[in-house]
Symmetry: C2
Subunit: 420 residues, 2 copies
């Protein structure tokens, strides 16, 4: 693959994309959706090859399920694309406008980033999602999905490009890296002349690779140890429900909780209550310290193991969580600073001062008071869509929607104004 | 130097800085200013050593002037620090607040980035400026100035730290890399565990180094070829004045113009007018194409040379500029896309459609209609101060003030809310 050329073509396409009106972009989204629908048999056939390869390679059932398309799923994905056409277009918005004393008129105007590179896991829906969000914001994109879905993705991109052509848009607006060789990821990360932003969606290793290698700004995200601190004034029954929701509702999600920190003053009462619920939900508890171990094991012995320090740095992504006893809010905050509290973390409390201090002082992208960490999601937050969840501090933090796929420029208007 | 430890100390200081009230931060700025004033003799003595070394090393007069302090200059620098104490504090601002259907209350709250690393040229004032802006926004900073000002900077940081202590603030909030060995820059760029943002202030080489090596998000800025397009409907006399201002007022600035593109329909009339003024201002003109050469050389032969393609990619930073004739706005935009129009660029025109298209389509951080490019500056734009001028598209673009030294977190408040 000639990555340089791929970047060049995407860049050229981004120039014409930036000129499109909202109506033209929405129209294109619907034409692409129609094209995907009309060719769904072909797409499902390509997916069947991926599924067969997966069966031959004995991939894990969770992975198999993720890469599997059927008519209903494909229709859902296509319908999401139509939904994006109904979202408000952030491009063109003017803000922070002012007139300077010298008469110069200034504003910031929102515009597309240009070209966005996205590296993602084996989920064919992401191919369509990212295409929709980038097209809606006037960005070209270069996509690289997991090798397990290569046939599905090639088919999807084929019909996306056909749809773009039917809509009169440069089909180079969506580029796919068809070769699974890892070296192309590396090359993508160095196309800084053509690519404006890299979004890695995947595990910590991929993020680390991008952070190390990329000469293009990267949005680091998704990874973080989720904490819930149950303060001494928390409502205990309700706290069990919030923890249950944060752990059990979708354990594989990046916003599920990993570590429960319980104030020592309520540990005796609360931990058995928690253990009882976790027993029902079959949640494995990694207990830290003898007191926590005993209180939990007395109720749910088969599900409790003794934890080590390194467990506090583990993102479980499954029905497992740490449980530890802490002596204060300060103790909690120190623990969280040591153990990557960068994503979504909650305090359960009725203490006003503690609630305020918690949200002020935690390093999380999303800080919760008396709520489940599972809400951290573009859809839940009312952004209409989600590109990624950023855990870095530059550009965007937390769930990223359409607006976060844009930048702004300063527009400065004078009457042949000169600086004195 | 133990850079790991330096990062750790800065990170720890940033935690306590983030807790300070605006009043405490302003108070600290004034105490540091007092401390610098009280010790100005000592600071000037240290500067004298740098000046002596500079004389011994025959540094260029411009550089010598930049690193020179005297009582008046030092007072000016200190007074700028007091001015920062009077600017509004962006930290704590809440925005984009909403209540979701399920009752969850959301907002984004502005907070410090954490630790900011700044690598800059041999200008001692930057040491104080960056300290002020970081302290005002609750950020710790790690500074690395040019080796030519090492003694001045060490003295300045000594009294900044003393001032911090007098104000009851952790003096590790401001760290200085005292060893001039380049390897420490490299080490700084890999302290991603402790440092949240790198701002390189300096030439294209430094930016390239940071872009390549840093595992921390970098703000690329300062570099770009400045263009002014004189459209066929421009007012010609006024256009000469805007070009003069953009080139002559401070030729060494990054927002000074590098290339003048003149519409072919007015070239015969305009280029001799321009040459006449440039002759007075002693501006060297690099003419592209025979027609432009002849029109300019007829008026100012001694100042006109024939240009080559590579001159279009040269940031002159001096009394030199390219002059070329173009056939249309499209021709202009294509030229600018090829030649790094990323910083500040202007159209001079009375054509409404061309003005609109120009600001929409140029890739510049600051796009001007009928105004000098020299306005691109935090002070001029009313930001009160300037950290850098970003020419990248992520996080911030154009002049960066206090707000751009902050991030936000999502604050989410519920009543033991769970996701269904």
């Amino acid at each position: 693959m000639d990555m340089e050329n791929l970047g060049k073509l995407a860049k050229a396409a981004s120039v014409s994309l930036a000129r499109l009106s909202t109506k033209e972009k929405n129209n294109a989204l619907n034409i692409i959706a129609d094209t995907l629908t009309a060719n769904s048999a072909d797409i499902l056939k390509a997916n069947e090859i991926d599924l067969e390869n997966a069966r031959n390679n004995d991939v894990a059932p969770a992975m198999y399920d993720r890469l599997r398309l059927d008519e209903k799923r494909l229709n859902g994905i296509i319908s999401d694309m139509r939904s994006v056409s109904k979202l408000p277009d952030p491009v063109g918005e003017e803000f922070d406008s002012k007139v300077l004393e010298n008469g110069l008129r200034l504003c910031k105007r929102r515009e597309p980033l240009g070209v966005v590179g996205v590296i993602y896991e084996a989920r064919p829906n992401v191919t369509v999602d990212i295409t929709s969000l980038c097209l809606k914001t006037g960005n070209a994109c270069i996509l690289r999905g997991g090798k397990e879905t290569i046939n599905s993705n090639i088919a999807l991109v084929k019909y996306i490009k056909l749809g773009l052509e039917l809509a009169g848009i440069d089909p180079n607006a969506v580029q796919y890296i068809e070769d699974s060789d890892r070296k192309y990821v590396s090359e993508l990360l160095h196309l800084d002349q053509y690519v404006d932003m890299i979004i890695p969606r995947g595990g910590a290793n991929l993020h680390r690779l991008c952070q190390k290698e990329s000469t293009i700004p990267v949005i680091i995200g998704g990874f973080g140890i989720g904490h819930i601190f149950v303060d001494e004034t928390a409502k205990l029954e309700e706290s069990v429900k919030v923890i249950q929701n944060s752990k059990v509702q979708r354990p594989s999600a990046c916003n599920s909780v990993d570590t429960i920190l319980v104030h020592e003053k309520i540990a005796n009462e609360f931990l058995p209550m928690l253990a009882k619920q976790m027993l029902q939900d079959k949640v494995k508890m990694v207990a830290h310290g003898d007191v926590a171990y005993k209180l939990l094991a007395d109720v749910a012995a088969d599900l409790v193991v003794k934890g080590e320090e390194k467990d506090f740095d583990t993102e479980w992504l499954s029905l497992t969580m740490n449980v530890a006893i802490v002596s204060s809010l300060d103790d909690t905050l120190n623990h969280m600073r040591k153990h990557v509290a960068s994503h979504s973390d909650a305090i359960l409390t009725n203490d006003y001062n503690n609630a305020c201090r918690f949200v002020n002082e935690v390093g999380s992208a999303c800080a919760y008071i008396n709520a489940s960490t599972r809400f951290s999601d573009g859809g839940q937050f009312g952004l209409g869509a989600e590109v990624a969840i950023s855990t870095q501090k530059l550009h965007a933090r937390g769930p990223m929607g359409l607006k976060e796929l844009t930048t702004y420029k300063w527009i400065c208007v004078g009457d042949y104004a000169t600086r004195s």
